[in-house]
Amino acid sequence: MPDDEECREERTPTLQLRDVAKSFGAVAALRSGTLEVRPGSIHALVGENGAGKSTLVKIVAGVHRRDAGEFRLLGEPVDFGSTAESKAAGVAVIYQEPTLFPDLSVAENIFMGRHPRGRGRRIDRTRMYAESHALFARLGVSIDPRRVANGLSIADQQLIEIAKAISLDAKLLVMDEPTAALSGNEVARLFAVARSLRDEGRALVFISHRFDEVFDLCDTVTVMRDGAYVSTARVAETTEAEIVAKMVGREVAELFPKTPAPLGDVVLEVRGLSSAGEFHDVSFQVRAGEIVGLAGLVGAGRSEIARAVFGVDGYDEGTVTLDGRVVPKGSPRRAIRAGMAFVPEDRRQQGLVIESSVARNVSAVIRGGLARAGLLTARAENRAAGPWAARLQVKTSALDMRAATMSGGNQQKVVIAKWLATGPRLLIIDEPTRGIDVGTKAEVHRLLSDLAGQGLAIVMISSELPEVLGMADRVLVVCEGRITADIARADATPENVMAAATRSTSTATATKEPV
């Protein structure tokens, strides 16, 4: 910690947010966001998914306009109506999900709208490529600035986002989970760059779920919960347990009420599954009553494996067997008939037809069986959907409400209701509690535990380590498209899971445990 701390405290904060609020329709994404970031500091912003961090970031970035509250940049009140305005004011943001222009070159993705120019206001491509090289060199990676962005891995896309943000030469740099997809080396380089920016007197906001990173990099930490500010503390003066307690607002243990269930026969057997560019030689089994957690970095291939098993995507080699019968590849319909259910990662795009009603969403998969003489009525759909919505305690005023008007937690319940209505043997659930409030989160966990207790086989993909460790009977760790570890519940620790998740490919294959 720099010793001229006193001086720093005097200086005007780069960013000041006080009681900032933002709602989307019925959903209050941010109720009272408060954050103060000083120049020359790296400020951690932590909180569970759905705590309002990303909304807060988007307000700072000018993506959303706040409904209420105070927002100052370098002491001046600001009100950004667009990302162009925030950029011009010296704010750079690395978003959680990379948003690149797939058709354009890597260098253009970095410099779009502010290309270096030479004579006659012409774009100076030579300089643009050279500057891109320099940026990548600073990050310690080598990506060809001339190639198109299409086809890059998530990690590379994230690195380009980081290069872009750094090149903006901003006074305030906000990083929303920049490390989710990065390997250890890449994270280390990013942190070195972040520290040098801090030493230049810039202000940085760092959002992460990994506490080791927060403690390694940041000097101050602000905790948010349920869309509101909880506390701010110096990192040196707090502990992980303290932060977690504030984030959750209760004891952690009660969040993950997995009760042990007797294991039955093998329900799902995946053997030698490979898909070029996605995953290689993936094999595992799931038994009735078992929850198998798939852990790993974002982009490691966990969701891709799930998608292939369910038939949303095809695969090149391998077999998927359910209850001893081979499931034909590339057909979700066949997978459903065989007894699979899949709650995908992206609820709004994949899990739900978000603009459709609750009733239609819940009855979407079973509606074929609801038709009489081929004719399907809204009445039949409502009759079928009502009890399932009730079973999962979906909060809605009527069955014809659009799913889009509901909170994330309620939407997730609708997705789960849709699949339970099919009477599945296997439930694959990708990020079961992403973007869900704490209360519903616990409900979802209890539900998964109950379902396993009733003999359902469950594959759960999660980026939240506590969730995986709390819920899974067995943890499979995926790294760069391969299963690098198979750890029983009793042996699983954050350390050994993370180690397997960031292991390089060469060692990974050597130590891969047979399943």
């Binding site: 007894g339 795009q349 994949q350 809204a378 809605t396 069955l399 109950d450 379902l451």
Partner: protein, 365 residues
């Protein structure tokens, strides 16, 4: 399969849900389709009172006779646009089908029904070709059907070249345009009504129809719920080709002649009618009765203006303005409504205080 249903909904589940958030009357009246139907009625009544000869015995007959092909093609087009795709090639398929019918009947002495069957089968194949490129090759339907618009029109041109086929024999030629008894209705409306009912049931009362809407709202989500997106699209394009071919047979018989430009430009009228009828160009929204009202609205306007001595260009201008106006209205009004206080939060607010809410908002501004 009791084991396969680990959590059956408990019979004694306490919570029940209302099926609808709005009253029956509100659902029936406050929608786009009702607005189009109202507009149709208003224009019709106005024309009856104010346009000379509009109440004459031939008006409705002529109107239906002329717009029958548009009405026919609008039926499958509705389903295609609801999935978020578009078929610009329908009028060319119509032209190709009319040419095939003409060549087979006049040059090769085939009977009208056999020629019609051949034409419809070919039309279905042409539609299936579009569908294959869109659904299985993954090409944008806009580009594909601009290509097949040229290609299928080219087939018609190649088939009939510079001659004008005319002189269809037989009583079957005049059947479609003969009246039903003493009514004002030509026989062609019988197949139109049958097809309209079938397409209406298909879109609104089958699982297939639900998939059509889901694909339009989010084809990814549909795919994730086990909907066979590609096959659905292939079926729709095939139906579109077959129905356009049926319209082609009708046009050939009706005018008793076929030229290379038979039906040219109809695709835009069809699309205009569908969009006017409340179908969203982005897909996922629309209803068949709205589309029928939309096409009829254009037809009534056309005939009223014609009887009023206006040229066909006026109807062109009006179609254009309606098209622009309706898409702006359907896209812009919801956004304004979204700015208003949140009515969707609870049903109480929805049913009791919308007027109040609007008022507050205005004051606040």
């Amino acid at each position: 399969m009791s084991t396969a249903t680990p959590v059956a909904p408990a019979a004694a589940e306490s919570r029940t849900y209302a099926a609808y958030s709005r009253s029956l009357l509100a659902r029936l009246l406050l929608n786009r389709e009702a607005a189009v139907i109202a507009a149709l009625v208003v224009v019709f009544v106005y024309a009856l009172g104010n346009v000379q000869y509009f109440d004459g015995p031939l008006t409705i007959y002529n109107l239906l006779k002329e717009y029958a092909p548009i009405l026919l093609m609008a039926l499958p087009m509705t389903l295609i646009i609801v999935t978020g795709e578009i078929d610009l090639s329908v009028a060319s398929t119509l032209g190709a089908s009319a040419a095939i019918t003409g060549v087979l009947v006049v040059d090769h002495d085939l009977s009208v029904p056999s020629a019609a069957v051949v034409a419809i089968v070919v039309g279905a194949l042409l539609g299936a070709l579009n569908g294959f490129f869109v659904a299985y090759v993954g090409l944008p339907s806009l580009a594909v059907t601009i290509g097949s618009l040229a290609l299928y029109r080219g087939l018609a041109e190649g088939l009939i070249q510079d001659k004008r086929i005319s002189g269809f024999p037989g009583a079957l030629r005049t059947w479609p345009t003969e009246r039903i008894g003493d009514t004002q209705y030509p026989n062609i409306i019988i197949p139109i009504i049958v097809l309209a009912v079938l397409f209406g049931l298909l879109l609104h009362f089958t699982s297939f129809g639900r998939s059509v809407f889901e694909i339009g709202l989010s084809d990814e989500a549909a795919h994730f719920s086990g909907v066979n997106v590609a096959r659905t699209k292939l079926i729709l394009f095939t139906l579109s080709g077959a129905v356009a071919a049926l319209a082609g047979v009708y046009v050939a018989l009706k005018s008793n002649s076929v030229a290379t430009d038979t039906g040219a430009g109809f695709e835009l009228k069809v699309i205009a009618g569908v969009l006017l009828g409340g179908v969203s160009i982005f897909g996922g929204r629309g209803a068949l009765h709205g589309v029928i009202a939309g096409v009829l609205l254009i037809a009534v306007l056309n005939s009223a203006l014609q009887l009023d001595g206006q040229g066909s260009e006026v109807i062109q201008i009006i179609i254009g303005l309606l098209l622009v106006g309706s898409v702006i209205a359907s896209n812009f009004l919801p956004r304004i409504r979204a700015l208003l206080p949140r009515r969707a939060v609870t049903p109480e607010v929805t049913s009791k205080t919308p007027v109040n809410g609007d008022h507050t908002r205005k004051v606040a501004q």
